[in-house]
Symmetry: C2
Subunit: 340 residues, 2 copies
């Protein structure tokens, strides 16, 4: 592998000149620039990342604290990770994966290796130990999600309030008067996991603004839980005609419970799945009306935001709230005037 000194020799310049030519850190006469690049080309030279990082104290590596599989998700995270990787690579960074389930001790140990320049944090909770740690250490970071107090903190999050609002509004316009919200697990809510906590809060507020009764349920993320929760729900509220759900894995159970009652979707019951994706929508027939998660965009933005704070001399605090995108498909319809 050729090194910088080889390039310098071949170009007939000092080693540092090659470095400056590559990094553009100081002005260089066009002529020597040409010669240096020609020499690099000829030798197939690529700077050694480790040496560069050690000398400059910038590794050009960022870490992604990404979720282990457990909660309801899948596609959306994958999309997120794909786009984050792509964005990082495009900007000349490498993305390493760290588990979001890591405790603060493990996290601190990894950070102290000084391998990464910054961290993108997924699965953020309202009060997040990891965020506290990153702040304390002084490691640059950006959140996918947000905490309770976000002063001076970069984040990219879904606009859950607008997402819930749009869904409820759409159902209300279809004539539905009793709308239920089916959230993820109560445990996630108690842990104040952002998406679960925010959507719950927003739904309560929004239904009250609409003058509606607030009906909601927590539900673990699997088919059986969806079935049972939905059974219980319809037993308690026989006049329910619509639902907003944020629990992809419970969907088949929910649909089954509705079908078992002899009701049809969307004629007798409408359902919108929020923070979802086209792929989930198409897994079911009729295709689901969903509010699609802006995962790809967030992956890109999160990384870009982190990198700008690493590279700009005085970075601005970026706090982006991106709404989900409502896509109307086959699982929603005007309220059936015939009562069930």
């Amino acid at each position: 592998m050729p090194k910088m000194s080889d390039v310098a020799k071949k170009a007939g310049v000092a080693l540092s000149t090659v470095s400056y030519a590559i990094n553009g850190t100081r002005s260089i006469s066009e002529e020597t620039r040409q010669r240096v690049f020609a020499a690099m080309e000829e030798l197939g030279f690529k700077p050694n990342a480790l040496a560069r990082g050690l000398a400059s104290k910038r590794s050009h590596i960022i870490a992604l604290l990404f979720p282990v599989i457990e909660r309801g998700l899948g596609f959306t995270e994958m999309e997120f990770v794909t786009n984050a990787t792509e964005a990082a690579l495009t900007l000349g960074y490498n993305l390493v994966l760290w588990s979001s389930a890591m405790d603060t001790v493990e996290l601190r140990a990894l950070i102290q290796q000084e391998l990464v320049d910054g961290v993108v944090v997924m699965e953020v909770h309202r009060h997040d130990e990891r965020v506290k740690l990153l702040k304390e250490i002084g490691m640059p970071f950006t959140l996918i999600g947000r905490c309770d107090n976000n002063d001076g903190i970069n984040f990219t999050d879904i606009d859950f309030h607008k997402t819930v609002f749009d869904a409820v509004k759409y159902l209300a316009e279809l004539g539905h008067e009793k709308i239920c919200f089916l959230n993820q697990s109560e445990q996630a809510y108690n842990e104040e996991y952002g998406p679960v906590w925010r959507t719950q809060t927003s739904f309560e507020q929004i239904t009250s603004e609409f003058g509606m009764q607030t009906i909601s349920r927590f539900c673990r993320s699997n088919t059986m839980a969806g079935y049972e929760t939905m059974q219980e729900l319809l037993d308690s509220h026989a006049d329910l005609t619509a639902m907003v759900a944020m629990n992809e894995r419970a969907i088949p159970g929910i649909i089954q419970a509705i079908t078992d009652r002899g009701w049809r979707i969307p004629d007798d019951f409408s359902i919108i799945v929020i923070v979802s994706s086209e792929r989930i929508a198409e897994m079911v027939i009729p295709n689901l009306t969903t509010s699609d998660s802006p995962s790809s965009e967030m992956g890109r933005l999160g990384v870009q935001s982190l990198i700008q704070m690493l590279e700009k001399e005085n970075p601005v605090v970026q706090q982006e709230l991106i709404p989900c995108h409502l896509v109307i498909r086959g699982s929603t319809a005007p309220k059936n005037i015939l009562v069930h």
Copy 2:
């Protein structure tokens, strides 16, 4: 951040002694070892990854060439990535993500940065340019999947033949005589993408061994393609009673096409989805009989295999073939003796 010289000073030993104590690269008296570790503890010292890598020429970073979203990608890949990350971290390595869609020029450029010690390659094709490149450069690598010629190459792959065999055998035992295979896209087959190519070949061979007619279809990975392909298929073969499918995203369309004919699953038609997962199985009611992909295991094994070849002085070539695990659920039943 404390450095090694600080530890050495505090412990009253030479800098190199600290290094040897940490790496165990040469014997050290128990007493000094104690002192060194006490000093490290006290200072909260962690070796700098970049410096260590530069000096030792081993970064303890490996790259994962992982797929962009396009093919059937989803849960299984996510599981794979999660476990690979976990395994790497456990063994003291960091995993960086590189896109599997990268061409050989980009790949070469990244490799020449000498950031990574080895590469785990996903989405392997029978004749894979990237594999050729890695060999040529002399970069250690392991495949998730395999090529046509695997002499001396480490790989971890699914045992597609056994997977197809088990599925066909199970259906045959249920009395089904005409069984179709629904594969992924013809394009993937023409590109000789491992899973698509191998399952196709195996299915042809196995049905012929069973004395069955070989009926198969390629199908793009979306609901509509599934619907149309299934329509055409049932038009051509009205006496078909069972199917093996390796195309998760086409499933809803397939089911719809069956239902549209007035047939019920599994009474009138049985279906097994291979190289799938419990999560997919549960997305549909009745829950699908699937042959689950050993993604987690492969993620772990792939990484372990790569790391052993990086660390052992004379590594053995590891070539693992892992079968999918048939889980019988609600989409398969004995052949209905009443013809359709």
